[in-house]
């Protein structure tokens, strides 16, 4: 089974809050100094799911990442985990694209890759948590979509997708090819192996630009964005501690519940 996985590079979500800085003017997150960005954890789980399918059915895994050439380290991480090919898509015209444009660019790249049975994306990117790109890719390519997958298998020539819901799961069968977004219930992604790292670091990562994927650059970048970010700021949090003292515990409990209701906490 041939699989395309879309992966994104994000600032390391494990950084201490003190290192998280914003540039209010440009409305951007300032990359923390000395802490390299990482692959979005949900995307890493998408790679893991792809590898499980490859372990079972064979085939080829192609990883697509949209960003700068520096993003090739993310593609290499996926190769070291066991993916077969990594491609970076980058161009000035793609900078500051919104989710809609990003999905457009990725859809064009997927068309260029050509043969595939399945496109996997993480359920959302852990930086902005929008969770739009996978769904829009499916729309652009006219393919069936299942979101929040925990497992994918093949049965009778179709994909069988286990989808996470609150307190349980659903099982869908969808024709091949399809787009599936992957949830964290997939479990811990495998670590790259030593042999994987050696072979990945020797590989060249091809870089695709506007022309390579026949993209219309008027549909990308800040000018094509369908919505504008108005303000970006770290909210100031005020902490207040109120101690409720009453004659009896029962009275104090009632007062506590009333206070919480008034504060909208329960």
């Amino acid at each position: 089974m041939d699989i395309i996985v879309c992966v994104k590079q994000i600032p390391d979500p494990e950084i201490p809050p003190s290192k998280f800085k914003l540039d209010i003017e440009s409305k951007k997150v300032v990359p923390p100094e000395g802490i390299p960005p990482v692959m979005n954890p949900y995307d890493e789980q998408a790679v893991e799911l792809a590898l499980r399918l490859k372990d079972k059915y064979g085939g080829k895994i192609t990883v697509l990442t949209l960003g700068s050439e520096a993003t090739s380290s993310i593609a290499k991480h996926a190769l070291a985990m066991g993916a077969d090919e990594g491609i970076v898509i980058t161009n000035k015209a793609f900078e500051d694209s919104d989710s809609f444009s990003k999905a457009y660019i990725l859809s064009q790249a997927i068309k260029k890759v050509g043969d595939y049975d399945l496109v996997l994306c993480g359920r959302q990117a852990a930086d902005w948590d929008e969770g739009l790109v996978g769904s829009i890719i499916a729309e652009n390519l006219g393919l069936p979509l299942v979101t929040l997958a925990e497992a994918v298998d093949v049965a009778n020539g179709k994909l069988k997708v286990k989808r996470v819901i609150l307190d349980g799961y659903q099982v869908f069968t969808v024709p091949i090819p399809a787009v599936v977004t992957v949830s964290n219930e997939v479990g811990r992604p495998r670590l790259p192996s030593g042999w994987g790292i050696i072979s990945a670091s020797q590989k060249q990562i091809p870089v695709w630009s506007v022309d390579d994927i026949e993209a219309d650059s008027s549909k990308t970048g800040a000018s094509a964005a369908r919505r504008k970010l108005v303000k970006l700021f770290i909210p100031e949090r005020e902490r207040k501690c109120e101690i409720i003292e009453r004659e009896t515990t029962a009275e104090a409990s009632i007062e506590l519940v009333d206070t919480l209701i008034k504060a909208g906490a329960i």
């Binding site: 390299p36 380290s73 290499k76 991480h77 070291a80 811990r188 670590l191 790259p192 192996s193 030593g194 042999w195 994987g196 790292i197 050696i198 990945a200 670091s201």
Partner: protein, 384 residues
């Protein structure tokens, strides 16, 4: 000169660190309490490609240079130096020794299973009366027809209790002193071979050592490794790699102590502010960080010389001596910064503190390395 890690080194760094967090840390506390080493970690490291980074690919290693290998060892030992040492010591000390001194047949037979984690190998030099001074080795190898008959005892042998195969040194002719020493290889099921585990340790409790006894143990002639008289020189080649491992491991241990101390010093509030805000604590942190950095670059420099095949006796001694002594000081300061909490095994610093003292002893004591450096600089030996 370039002080940046390559992309490949960065990937190994990150992978080894995550592996250590996922596979070593979760069981460390319980295993140390029980003085237990779980050999399962050897297979896990092997399947991850972490067991024998420095060994050639044809014998089951990754064929990496020594800086990259040191980066891997540093990260693994950031979780536990003793557990990592027990896991990787076969491919490090006896295997590099065999790689240099063994016949092609011996290498093909023993090295791939050791590098793939299918067989555990020990290297046995030290005896009750022969520690730093190998001329005192009393294990005797007596030639009888087409056999060697071996009698003797080896102590403090890493994995001595669980090894499948042991590369050891014995005396073939006492009158020849060091020139009479020869190396041999023995498999556990050989009659006359027995072992007992070492228990009651106050340090290195996650590791694994044992005592070996050879009683009228018969070996075929082809089990001799290298030439008679060359055993110590051959063993020192393996020990050189073990020294690099210990230097790198001490850096990992020290880095972990530094990170834990910085974190704790920011969180723990006394006298109205985080303790890190007190100047005396900042002095300790500054000294720790400077020593970690110095130890790391001494280690990488020795590793670089070793990779390039340049003579590096003095530089390896600088690295092993300085890194392990710095790690011991840093670990002790880290415990103090943690106060009483540092003395219980819920925090990483307590584990490291226990291990750090032993790191200064095996692979050559601090004094042996000082004497080696002195000998190199003064062109005079002061060992005896």
């Amino acid at each position: 000169m370039d002080f940046e890690l390559t992309e490949e080194q960065r990937m190994f760094h990150d992978m080894a660190r995550k592996f250590a967090e996922q596979e070593i840390l979760p069981t460390l506390k319980e295993n140390e309490r029980q003085e237990k080493f779980d050999p399962g970690i050897i297979k896990k490291m092997a399947s991850q490609g972490l067991l024998a980074p420095h060994m050639p690919k044809e014998y089951g290693g990754l064929g990496l240079d020594y800086i990259t290998s040191a980066i891997i060892w540093e990260q693994l030992c950031g979780a536990s130096l003793s557990v990592t040492q027990a896991a990787v010591s076969g491919p490090i000390q006896p295997a590099t020794n065999l790689l240099d001194a063994g016949t092609e047949e011996q290498k093909k037979k023993y090295l791939p299973p050791v590098c793939k984690g299918e067989s555990i190998m020990s290297g046995a030099v030290v005896e009750p009366t022969a520690g730093s001074d190998s001329s005192m080795i009393e294990t005797v190898a007596r030639r009888s027809g087409n056999r060697w008959i071996i009698n003797g005892t080896k102590i403090f042998i890493t994995n001595g209790e669980i090894a499948d195969v042991v590369l050891f040194i014995a005396q073939t002719d006492k009158s020849k002193g060091l020139k009479g020493l020869a190396s041999f290889i023995v498999e556990r099921d050989t009659p006359g071979f027995s072992s007992t585990p070492l228990k009651g340790k106050i340090s290195w409790r996650g590791g694994s050592e044992g005592t070996l006894r050879f009683t009228d143990m018969e070996l075929p002639l082809e089990n001799q490794v290298g030439e008679i008289g060359g055993a110590l020189r051959d063993a020192l080649r393996g020990i050189d790699t073990a020294r690099l491992f210990l230097a790198a491991g001490a850096v990992g241990l020290a880095q972990s102590c530094l990170e834990a101390s910085i974190k704790y010093a920011k969180e723990r509030v006394q006298f109205g502010k985080p303790i890190g805000g007190h100047q005396l604590i900042q002095e300790i942190i500054a000294k720790m960080a400077t020593k970690v950095d110095a130890a790391r670059w001494l280690t990488y420099r020795a590793a670089d010389l070793k990779s390039r095949g340049i003579r590096h006796i003095k530089e390896m001694s600088y690295a092993k001596y300085f890194s392990t002594e710095a790690a011991l000081w840093i670990a002790s300061q880290a415990v103090k910064i943690h106060g009483s909490f540092g003395t219980i095994d819920d925090y990483p610093v307590g584990h490291h503190y226990q291990d750090a003292i032993t790191a200064t002893i095996l692979g050559g004591t601090a004094q042996m390395h000082q004497l080696t450096i002195g000998q190199q600089l003064l062109e005079m030996a002061a060992f005896r």
